[in-house]
């Protein structure tokens, strides 16, 4: 039943309401999809026992609709390992606020999605457990760090999935897998229950195959949370209401030229973005070409701040209260050092050390303090830019999905996959990646629409209008 695999959430809800399918049958369907297809894809680290999943709200708008949850988002009494050995047997003692909110709307969770270890990576290759493959080409990565979530939605194994985005970890895999990926405004969705990586950058993000579904799920989770004091003091509301396929009056879209014309961008990506710009113009948008000079420093700034915050956040994994412990250690220091060496993979160890380096006496001035200053400049530049434009547009990723091992010998180039996305985490605004074409090798290309702080309403409306005027969102990988 291929249509069911790629149905949108409203289509599934309608089928359930019309009794064309029961929730039990729907769950069976998606569980069978995983059984059939996930051996070759590797999206899920765990599928929950079907008898243990149930909707908590029969009247909720997401009643019975199953999703996959990234392994760094806590679900009470379920394992949460962040794809790391250090948390192999960890069982979450509480649920993330986002999980509770989705449960309150009736959503169900089918399992845990594979990811880069502790969300550190752009290919899902650093997971301690398995690699996830891109359903468009099994020799290619799905992107990262939320690769399992992106691939599962792209392959029709689930209608939606949660990820987390610290420097692009929802938007980049969304682009590489040809699905919709939203990073909300910082503070829009509570981080309570999201294992921290870069706390001033992290946001829970959403994977769907349509903008409407993204807006629906976002509406379920966005809102102030007493348990996360960084959540925005704005009331939750329904972001699907104003999605009518039209642009909002006359909007001005700023094309980030120094991104679109960066050296090293794939020609196919450039062509797809240019086509998309023409499409926006046809729909009535005013196009302005702009430059963001501070973007040149976005990756460098992100490297410093994210790794500094990661070093701090991951200090808690010390083998004392939970997680892997070296039981042969004779001293406390040995216990810490060996447990962390054994439990963390090389990429995580490297990032922690860089983080501590840029914070250390003698280096903090030239690295961390300067990075904070540059971040302040970026925020100022964005605020100034948004005085004259409504939305920004640029590529999500410089190329389509790359092959496994492509950056084994060049980790820095791998890190630069975040080039177009990390600046948005630094400034805190919302951004969405939408499918907008394919490379000549039939790999998806994503465009990134960026809104002003708390500008999700306009972002969704514009994204929806573009999506509905094209057919990219209706394309699915062959064989699924």
């Amino acid at each position: 039943m291929k249509h069911l695999a790629f149905a949108t959430i409203p289509e599934l809800v309608s089928m359930i309401e019309q009794k064309k399918i029961s929730i039990k049958e729907l769950h069976e369907f998606f569980y069978r999809r995983f059984e059939l297809l996930d051996d070759q894809l590797g999206c899920a680290l765990e599928l929950f026992d079907q008898s243990t999943i149930s909707s908590k709200n029969p009247n909720g708008p997401l009643h019975g609709i199953p999703g996959l949850i990234k392994d760094n988002i806590l679900i009470e009494n379920r394992h949460a390992s962040c794809a790391s050995l250090i948390l192999k047997n960890f069982i979450a003692p509480y649920s993330a606020t986002a999980i509770e909110q989705l449960q309150a709307q009736g959503a169900t969770f089918i399992g845990r999605a594979n990811m880069d270890e502790f969300a550190m990576g752009s290919s899902t290759e650093t997971s301690a457990y398995k690699k996830t493959k891109n359903p468009w080409n099994l020799a290619c990565v799905p992107g990262g760090s939320s690769g399992g979530s992106a691939a599962a939605v792209a392959a029709g194994l689930v209608p939606w999935a949660l990820g987390s985005d610290t420097g692009g970890s929802v938007r980049q895999p969304a682009a590489l897998c040809g699905v919709v990926g939203l990073k909300p405004t910082y503070g829009a969705i509570s981080r309570y229950g999201l294992v921290g990586y870069g706390s001033s950058l992290d946001q829970i993000g959403i994977f769907t195959r349509s903008v409407y579904d993204s807006a629906l799920l976002f509406s379920s989770m966005a809102g102030v949370d007493a348990r996360d004091s960084s959540t925005l003091q704005i009331a939750s509301r329904d972001y699907t209401k104003q999605l009518d396929g039209k642009l909002s009056g006359t909007i001005t879209i700023g094309i980030v030229d120094n991104a679109l014309h960066a050296k090293g961008i794939d020609l196919d990506v450039k062509n797809a973005l240019n086509e998309a710009i023409l499409q926006f113009e046809k729909m009535g948008a005013v196009i302005k070409h702009i430059n963001l000079p501070t973007m040149e420093y976005s990756a460098a700034t992100y490297f410093i701040i994210s790794r500094a915050e990661a070093a701090s956040n991951l200090a808690r994994f010390d083998g004392i209260r939970y997680g892997l412990r070296d039981k042969k250690a004779k001293t406390l220091n040995q216990l810490y050092e060996n447990s962390r060496h054994e439990g963390f993979g090389p990429e995580v160890r490297s990032r922690i050390m860089i983080g501590n380096y840029v914070l250390s006496a003698g280096h903090a001035g030239e690295y961390y303090d300067n990075a904070r200053k540059v971040r302040q400049q970026m925020r100022h530049e964005f605020a100034e830019t948004f005085k004259n434009i409504d939305l920004l547009l640029m590529p999500t990723s410089p190329s389509g999905a790359f092959e496994f091992g492509a950056y084994d010998a060049d980790k820095l180039q791998m890190d630069l996959q975040d080039y177009f996305t990390c600046i948005i985490n630094l400034v805190g605004g919302p951004a969405i990646s939408l499918p907008c074409g394919f490379t000549k090798n039939n790999l998806p290309i994503g465009l990134q629409l960026i809104g002003n702080h708390s500008g999700e309403e306009l972002l969704f409306k514009t994204a929806y209008a573009y999506e509905q005027s094209t057919e990219w969102h209706l394309k699915h990988p062959e064989g699924y």
Binding site: Y297, G323, A329, Q334, Q377
Partner: protein, 104 residues
């Protein structure tokens, strides 16, 4: 506009002693044969990241106006069960750890 083809000529060199100290600060053991390759990888990233100083000089950090979020100071009962059940080693309501105080 900088591209992804980054300049590699000034790779920061982290000495062996610095690496050992960094590992210690990070509370992560480091094998002798790891020191050189890890130092090289760190050096590459740091050599790239240092460019922030090119434009940072003229900026004075302004403190953001923060809003304090308070909650009522009410003591809630806490069930230690779920927290203790995954302790690597426990005794009653305590985590067992290597001794740090010499007993005579």
């Amino acid at each position: 506009m900088e591209s992804f083809n980054i300049a590699r000529d000034c790779v920061k060199r982290i000495t062996k002693e610095e690496m050992i100290k960094l590992a210690k600060t990070s509370h992560i053991a480091i094998d002798l044969n790891e020191i050189a390759p890890v130092a090289e990888q760190l050096g590459e990233v740091l050599s790239y990241a240092i460019r922030v100083q090119e434009i940072a000089a003229d900026t004075v950090l302004t403190l953001q106006a923060n809003t304090n979020i308070f909650r009522a100071d009410i003591i809630e009962q806490c069930n230690p069960g779920p927290l203790l059940r995954q302790a690597p080693e426990r005794a009653d309501n305590f985590f067992v750890v290597p001794s740090i105080i010499e007993t005579v």
